[in-house]
């Protein structure tokens, strides 16, 4: 399926989603509570799908994001194997009001993520709140979408910038059963839309982009390996040169008669065979 679909729910609802043949992602509203965090980490360890869950930052979440502890606890979620990561950047959703505090908090989170080695943090906002077609989502509220026309913008963007961002659909609602009904509706709508030309083109573009990303990743891995081998070679050269210097100063500079006498001592000590003193064709050392 081309559209990524997310259900905003509690972690305990994951078992319900897990029963579905085509699973949506789980989007958990992030509300920091020191005592409930251990349970949250334990729960997300049970999510088996890669890219199976993400977090939603609401106004309440943002108001709590004012300490290092809270930001770090979000980053720990990004380390979970099932967290939604695209191109080495965690992807999170937000419905929070965009204001100075919001921008400041997200800037801080982004800075901390870069310091932890992530490529970026992608913030996905409601389509009406953002000019960015790249990271937006549609609220699912029971109405019908014209999915064919929704795809026009991402396709046009791709033609201009060679970047394709399929839109996300986020399902809110009061009960999990209600959300599952809405999920089924959007799933059916997508099945119908999949017969349209736009959908087919978008799917082609999407998989092409995935392939390019995959090969890009392979290439960067190769480059890393090549750099590593170069460093290893340099270190081994340095170590070898050290060993040769040591050999030179400890042994090579001794007079030849002393070295020859040393070989006789080796024979007496049983470390070298007697016959090897006169012939190169016999076994020299025991081991």
């Amino acid at each position: 399926m081309l559209f990524s679909k997310w259900i905003v729910a509690d972690l305990k609802d994951y078992q319900e989603l897990n029963k579905l043949p085509v699973r949506p992602g789980l989007c958990v509203e992030f509300l920091y509570d020191e005592d409930s965090m251990p349970g949250m980490y334990q729960h997300v360890q049970e999510i088996i799908d890669p890219n199976g869950f993400t977090i939603l930052l609401s106004d309440n979440s943002i108001s709590e994001m004012n300490t290092d502890t809270v930001l770090n606890s979000i980053i720990t979620l990004f380390f979970q194997p099932s967290f939604y990561i695209v191109n080495k950047a965690p992807v999170i959703f937000t419905t929070a009001t965009v204001n100075i505090h919001f921008n400041e908090m997200l800037k801080k989170l982004k800075e901390k993520c870069l310091l932890q080695g992530f490529a970026d943090v992608i913030i996905v906002q409601p389509i009406n709140n953002t000019d960015s077609q790249h990271a937006c989502f549609y609220y699912i509220d029971g109405r019908n979408f014209n999915l064919n026309s929704i795809l026009e913008n991402p396709i046009n963007d791709y033609l201009k910038s060679r970047n394709f961002f399929p839109p996300h659909f986020v399902i809110f609602g009061d009960t999990i059963s209600n959300k599952l009904v809405q999920y089924e509706t959007i799933l059916n709508q997508e099945l119908l839309a999949s017969k349209t030309v736009n959908y087919k083109i978008a799917t082609e573009i999407y998989y092409l982009q995935m392939k390019i990303q995959h090969f890009g990743h392979k290439l960067s891995q190769q480059n890393i390996n090549e750099d590593n081998l170069r460093i290893y070679l340099e270190i081994q050269k340095k170590d070898l040169s050290k060993a040769l210097d040591w050999y030179h100063y400890e042994y090579e500079i001794l007079p030849i008669w002393y070295k020859q006498f040393g070989h006789i001592v080796k024979v007496i000590m049983g470390k070298r065979s007697f016959r090897s003193l006169f012939s190169d064709n016999v076994k020299k050392y025991k081991d």
């Binding site: 088996i48 194997p81 901390k112 932890q116 392979k218 891995q221």
Partner: protein, 240 residues
């Protein structure tokens, strides 16, 4: 109760090296926490393989920052978040050291600390002497500090001094276990990293496969600090 923190960089090292070493430890019912490096595109597949062998393992996937030290700091962060109860933590990683001719030998020596015939003795050593904070391989017990010059005989000298100051670490001895594979009392780890969050320490580490042969690094400085946090709490480092 034991917790084992394992950093895995090479995807094939789980089955080739680590699994065989960890299986005999099962009888101690350890909590196993594993960090996989996100440089491998199939880290998620590896996570599912590990869960087949150790179904209760806690697994995280992190960017390649600070080599095994970065992985271990992320694992300490996870360990503290989960509030796991344990008396000792064993730090391990898939040390292949491809740059070193003796790499395999190093790994074997370092892994002795989980050899089935030594584990009971190590626990006994900890119980017998409450001042022992860290136990690792004696062959890797090092001290680079020169008391006359107050310098460390290491490319990391400058970084060491900077981080000791920054984190206010005052070790009673500068001995450490090179290779960062050892047993450490959980109370030492908790006490230090509850004061200074492990992820904050991880932020300063270098990206990628950093080496300290030519110049110092924060990553290799942390290799030493991991033991000095024990020494600074008046514990000793023991080699076996």
């Amino acid at each position: 109760m034991i917790a084992i923190l394992v950093h895995i960089y090479y995807p094939d090292s789980w089955r080739k090296i680590l699994l065989e070493q960890l299986l005999p430890l099962r009888k101690y019912q350890p909590r196993v926490l594993i960090n996989l490096c996100n440089i491998n595109s199939d880290a998620n597949h590896l996570a599912s393989v590990i869960r087949k062998d150790f179904s209760e393992a806690v697994i995280i996937i992190t960017p390649n920052k600070g080599k095994d030290i970065g992985g271990k700091l992320a694992l300490i962060d996870m360990f503290l978040h989960l509030r796991i109860q344990s008396d000792y933590i064993i730090m391990l990683h898939d040390k292949l050291s491809p740059q070193a001719i003796k790499g395999e030998n190093w790994r074997k020596t370092l892994f002795n600390i989980i050899s089935p015939n030594l584990v009971a003795g190590i626990i006994h050593d900890f119980e017998k002497d409450k001042r022992v904070g860290v136990i690792g391989s004696a062959s890797f017990l090092m001290n680079e500090y020169n008391e006359d010059t107050h310098q460390f005989a290491s490319t990391n000298n400058k970084n060491i001094k900077e981080l000791l100051e920054r984190y206010n670490i005052r070790p009673i001895s500068y001995s450490f276990i090179g290779g960062t594979m050892f047993w450490i009392r959980t109370s030492i780890v908790k006490s230090f990293f509850q004061r200074i969050p492990a992820l904050n320490c991880r932020e300063t580490l270098e990206k990628g496969n950093i080496m300290d042969h030519f110049e110092g690094s924060y990553t290799h400085t942390w290799e030493r600090l991991m033991c000095w946090i024990a020494s600074a709490q008046n514990y000793s480092i023991k080699g076996i």
